[in-house]
């Protein structure tokens, strides 16, 4: 009977974890970064309205899907650039920015400041919502 109890607890806990992770995936939330550790990497690649910095790793299918989604958004929204960084080859950056999983997308404002972050594969609407908040400070933007 203990076995049945263990199974029920494990499945119930997994369902909760799964639902929470699915809900949180891709949703951007405000974040503060001390200093500007990625300034070097972004020289010349900042978007005039916003920049999306994506951390990816090998064998990460959600990273590939995220790349496709972000690329599509850069076509839709003017002045937004997409920069992709290999997490495994930039572990110092990963630590400085406290990246815990891939994909992680940082949303930078027009001044190149990190304002929001999202981990996990986003939906296109999540990306556009985050961009709307990040670009809001620069005045009127029509999508």
């Amino acid at each position: 009977m203990i076995g049945v109890l263990v199974v029920v607890v494990v499945i119930a806990a997994s369902v909760v974890v799964g639902l929470v992770m699915r809900h949180r995936n891709g949703r951007a939330r405000p974040t503060t970064i001390v200093g500007s550790p990625i300034a070097e990497h972004l020289r010349g690649r900042l978007g005039s309205n916003a920049t999306m910095v994506q951390f990816s790793s090998a064998f990460c299918q959600p990273c590939r899907a995220t790349r496709r989604i972000l690329e599509e958004v850069t076509v839709m929204v003017p002045g937004v650039s997409h920069v992709e960084i290999d997490a495994e080859e930039n572990l110092d950056l990963v630590r400085a920015l406290d990246v815990k999983r891939t994909p992680t997308v940082l949303f930078l404002g027009p001044a190149g400041d990190v304002q929001e972050r999202a981990s996990g594969q986003p939906r296109k609407v999540d990306v556009i919502a985050a961009l709307g908040r990040v670009m809001g400070s620069s005045g009127d933007v029509t999508i």
């Binding site: 076995g3 199974v7 369902v15 799964g18 299918q61 572990l91």
Partner: protein
């Protein structure tokens, strides 16, 4: 859009999820009857399954073979393929956990075996039900810690 062709290195992503579903069922049964000979057989079986997938390759994994024979022909061609390396690594982790569980149950440490099987079940279930790859989630944290 051309339909992708499954190769040794690029696989239909639905295959591993099917495998994770079978694995979950096997592990549920194993946990429930762990104190019986059937439980030991189930653990031994799942250890072999993971071992084949990890050391021989995903094509040798019995659940994958079942998927290709029975399920895949009934589904539309996959819209995209995924790299085989991720699922193969997961098989290796699964093998480690199941092998330890097998040793534990054979020397009478049923509680240890149950705990190991419970973690394996959580990982398999999360993959089957939500498509989450727990090993992938731990990869970056693991690299951060190991390369300190």
């Amino acid at each position: 859009m051309t339909t992708p062709v499954c190769t040794r290195n690029q696989i239909d992503p639905r295959g591993p999820r099917f495998g994770a579903t079978i694995t979950s069922l096997v592990l549920i049964a194993a946990i429930v009857v762990i104190s019986t000979p059937v439980g030991v057989v189930l653990v031994a079986w799942q250890t072999v399954v993971f071992g084949l997938g990890a050391f021989v390759g995903l094509h040798a994994q019995p659940y994958g073979a079942l998927y290709r024979a029975l399920v895949q022909p009934r589904l539309p061609r996959p819209t995209h393929l995924e790299d085989a390396a991720g699922p193969r690594f997961a098989q290796g982790v699964g093998f480690l956990m199941l092998a330890l569980a097998l040793v534990s149950v054979l020397i009478g440490l049923t509680v240890v075996a149950t705990v190991l099987l419970a973690f394996a079940l959580a990982a398999a279930f999360l993959n089957a039900a939500f498509g989450f790859c727990l090993g992938c989630e731990m990869r970056i944290i693991g690299l951060r810690v190991l390369s300190r």
